[in-house]
Amino acid sequence: MMTREAMVTSPLGLHARAAARFVRVASGFRSQIRVTRGSRTTDGKSILGLLLLAAARGTVLTIGAEGVDAEEAIDALCALTARGFEDS
């Protein structure tokens, strides 16, 4: 599995709307997506799992992907995280 780190920059952290955006982008890829914070790992296509990471601003997440479009998926999700989960 390919992984990369990204820091949460949005003031409210990975809140409901941010998690929703993340899931929507992640679901656009065929690869399996994993998001890890510390000892917790969740499916990147699960909004509930992402909320449970309780990632506040400044948290570093490890985003992993495995599958045919893994690299594009990681690029897109890291970019989304870096711009505070706002639409580009």
Binding site: A19, A20, L48, L52
Partner: protein, 582 residues
């Protein structure tokens, strides 16, 4: 009957009660191997039905309320497709061979347990959405329309809806021109149903515990979404006083720009100090916007929220405190040391939620287990080099405690090599402190009355105990006499005194407290304009006469009647504003 919850959407409403209790209908059975596919198919069908319903609701809310509120349902649609919910239920049907209803119930239960483990209040409130989606999915397995929607059409309006829990999706389908107020047993200010009704301008009071059990269907019910009061079969004086409060607030809104930079002065020229209470340091701009003269209470334990009870470093604390001083400069900032449950490390929730009423909390916890307290003191003393900081100690019960804390502070001061004087104050929130103000004042540079706890300890009423909901009475003569005693003793000893409980946020009660001799109040920033507006029309001598009579009143209704003229006077500014008369 009077109940008190948390006012989460402002405004007043009076109507007939419609009591709605959700029944838990669960059907559980094990499957023969041939039944598995049929159950998986039922779950798929329920999911499709739920998806269509949510899309419909989302479109409707987008039209009638706004796209931001519709986003709530977009998030719910994603939850519906979440691997941890429907897919997990599907897995349970296959592996455990249980029916779809049971599998879904278990998947939801698992998620509830995960969310319940989180210390973060915001995150715990997301359970509201999860329950909503889960419940809708469960009902879709056995489709039938929520009967509440039709009931609202059949009953006589205006209706006050009393619900154990009202889900956002049912709320979105109700006719809110007929339902004019919401009371619910559970919920908080960021619950999505609350956000929805607030944007519709419907007053709401939540967190009453057992309102659905205490209020009978059809009873006339008045709710005050600003103060959190709910009165069943309200006497005319109550409705009257609420109207006055609404008028004061309306006048304050109209005069907001003018009020902001004016000092608070009564009609007879008595200067009153109005400061703000603050929980989240980032919201300090609200304090400034409201025209507060300082921060009268910063609840530092909220720094602990979400940290899982871990200690906050001296450096982080220092930066937070200094940030507040810089933002408020040159106004004073009062920081209350952690009022946290020593074992859990979670903030003591005043007025609802988890708490340990007679526990090891406040200054007791600090003296018992002082590492965290020493760290906080160091951070506070360092911050005090940069502005007028005051340290406020919670849950003080004796002057001996104050002496000990002063010892710790002096020690920290020596080790830091600082000589900057920092005022040390004591919260007066238990009767033991209220009755020994003369002793405490010898060791405290200022005093601050926490009315919420003082009321509950004086009247032996735990506010979280729903059976006692009607017994929590801020104007009980026992409470007023204690308050009077505090004011008299503090004045005699020339010890600065303030009130920082919820009473201080109610303009009419501030009028009464002014009559009892209080001259300084600290309240939620949003309450400041209305209190200031009301005070401009208050004659402090008339207030003193009313207060003296109130000390001997035998019931809350009698006090209401006594303060009605004060309320009317304080609302006088309303009539004088041309824009408000139309």
């Amino acid at each position: 009957m009077r109940l008190r919850g948390r006012g989460v959407a402002p405004g007043l409403a009076v109507g007939r009660a419609l009591v709605a209790v959700r029944e838990a209908r669960q059907v559980r059975y094990r499957l023969a191997s041939s039944g598995v596919d049929r159950e998986r198919q039922r779950l798929r069908a329920a999911r499709d039905r739920t998806r269509r319903e949510l899309e419909e609701i989302s479109a409707r809310v987008s039209r009638t309320v706004g796209s931001a509120q519709a986003a709530i349902f977009a998030a719910q649609l994603l939850m519906l497709d979440d691997p941890l919910l429907a897919r997990r239920a599907d897995e349970l049907i296959r592996t455990e061979r249980i029916n779809a209803d049971w599998a879904l119930e278990r998947a939801i239960q698992e998620l509830h347990e995960l969310f319940a483990r989180e210390g973060d209040t915001w995150l715990r409130e997301r359970v509201g959405d999860l329950s909503d989606v889960g419940g809708r999915l469960q009902r879709s397995l056995r489709p039938a329309r929520d009967p509440l929607i039709d009931l609202v059409q059949e009953l006589e309006a205006p209706i006050i809806l009393i619900a154990d829990e009202l889900s956002p999706s049912v709320a979105a389908q109700l006719d809110w021109t007929r339902v004019q107020g919401l009371v619910s047993d559970v919920g908080g200010p960021t619950h999505h149903t609350v956000i929805l009704v607030r944007s519709l301008g419907i007053p709401a009071v939540v967190g009453l515990g057992g309102a659905t059990g205490l209020i009978a269907p059809g009873q006339l019910t008045a709710i005050n979404g600003t103060t959190g009061e709910v009165v069943v079969d309200p006497p005319d004086v109550v409705v009257e006083q609420w109207r006055r409060q609404a008028e004061i607030a309306a006048a304050a809104t109209l005069a907001l720009g003018e009020l902001r930079d004016q000092p608070a002065v009564t009609a007879d020229g008595v200067r009153i100090t109005l400061e703000a209470n603050l929980e989240i340091a980032d919201e300090v701009h609200r304090v400034l916007d409201a025209g507060a003269e300082g921060i009268g209470l910063y609840r530092s334990e909220f720094l602990l929220d979400g940290s899982g009870g871990q200690a906050i470093s001296e450096e982080t604390q220092f930066r937070t405190y200094r940030g507040l001083l810089d933002a408020m400069h040159p106004r004073p900032v009062t920081i209350r040391t952690f009022d946290a449950d020593e074992v859990q490390g979670v903030p003591v929730m005043r007025g609802g939620g988890r708490r340990d009423v007679f526990g090891l909390r406040g200054i007791r916890a600090a003296l018992h287990h002082d590492d965290g307290f020493r760290t906080q003191i160091r951070a506070l003393l360092r911050a005090a080099e940069h502005g007028p900081l005051r340290i406020l100690l919670p849950f003080v019960t004796s002057d001996e405690e104050l002496r000990q804390v002063r010892g710790l502070i002096d020690e920290a001061r020596r080790s830091l090599g600082t000589a900057t004087p920092v005022p040390i104050g004591a919260m007066i929130e238990v009767p033991a402190a209220a009755l020994t103000v003369d002793q405490l004042a010898r060791h405290a540079d200022f005093l601050s009355v926490g009315t919420n706890d003082l009321i509950q300890y004086t009247l032996a009423v735990d506010r979280t105990d729903e059976r006692l909901a009607g017994h929590y009475e801020p104007t009980a003569s026992a409470v007023l006499r204690l308050l009077r005693g505090i004011a008299v003793a503090a004045r005699r000893l020339r010890c600065p005194l303030s009130v920082c409980g919820e009473m201080a946020g109610d303009p009419v009660l501030v009028g009464l407290l002014t009559g009892l001799g209080f001259r300084s109040f600290s309240m939620a920033p949003a309450a400041i304009p209305a209190v200031k507006q009301g005070l401009r029309y208050l004659d402090s001598r008339a207030a003193a006469v009313v207060a003296r009579k109130a000390l001997r009143a035998s019931s809350a209704d009698e006090v209401q009647a006594l303060i009605a003229p004060l309320a009317a006077a304080m609302a006088a500014g309303h009539a004088r504003l041309p824009a408000a008369s139309g």
